[in-house]
């Protein structure tokens, strides 16, 4: 498996699950926090990737 995006998504999903479970006690709150963290990880990585695209200048 060499897809960068797929590995990023798997990594983000697992890390988000652990962080959300650590931070919240109720399953519903865990799901909500986990989904927000996951979206933040994936969107943030893609945005950073595009911002770094012209580097090195």
């Amino acid at each position: 498996m060499t897809s960068h995006l797929l590995l990023l998504i798997v990594f983000a999903a697992l890390v988000s699950a652990v962080f959300a479970t650590l931070a919240r006690d109720e399953p519903r709150a865990q799901l909500r926090t986990g989904a927000m963290l996951f979206a933040g990880f994936v969107v943030g990585a893609i945005v950073l990737g595009w911002l770094m695209y012209p580097l090195p200048l």
């Binding site: 498996m1 060499t2 590995l7 798997v10 990594f11 697992l14 890390v15 699950a17 652990v18 479970t21």
Partner: protein, 136 residues
């Protein structure tokens, strides 16, 4: 799943110093074991599945379980981070599963999965400690 009162009872019992050490050791050795001990079954299942998945994927991606080489500071730090996962790390090192393939295209990804799994388990140990002493 345990009820809230029984989970609270277990947490109170775990606040004894000797038991506290055992809870932290269990939490370190097997991801989720500390939470299971304290009656937080749902959290225990998530930690067990997520962290062991990360560890397995890291090995599958040909990442390396770094040894304790105190002359190399970054290798040593990576070793401490990986060691945070407890028994799975020890078993894998014993059976030479984490030799790593530096030429593999997924080498860095594998290392990231392995190192982060260990660091996350250390956070899980701290969380188990907080629950055991009644902070959470």
């Amino acid at each position: 799943m345990a009820t809230k009162s029984s989970a609270a009872d277990r947490a109170r019992a775990a606040a004894e110093p000797g038991t506290l050490v055992l809870v932290c050791l269990a939490a370190w050795a097997v991801p989720g074991a500390g939470h299971l001990w304290l009656g937080r079954t749902q959290k225990a299942i998530v930690f067990f599945l997520a962290l062991l998945s990360m560890f397995g994927i890291g090995l599958w991606l040909r990442g390396r379980l770094f040894p304790f080489e105190f002359g190399e500071i970054l290798v040593t730090l990576a070793a401490f981070a990986g060691f945070g996962l407890g028994l799975p790390w020890i078993v894998a090192r014993t059976f030479d599963l984490g030799a790593g393939v530096v030429t593999a295209v997924t080498w860095e990804y594998g290392n990231s999965f392995l190192i982060v799994a260990g660091l996350l388990n250390l956070l899980v140990v701290l969380d188990a400690y907080d629950i055991a002493v009644g902070r959470k």
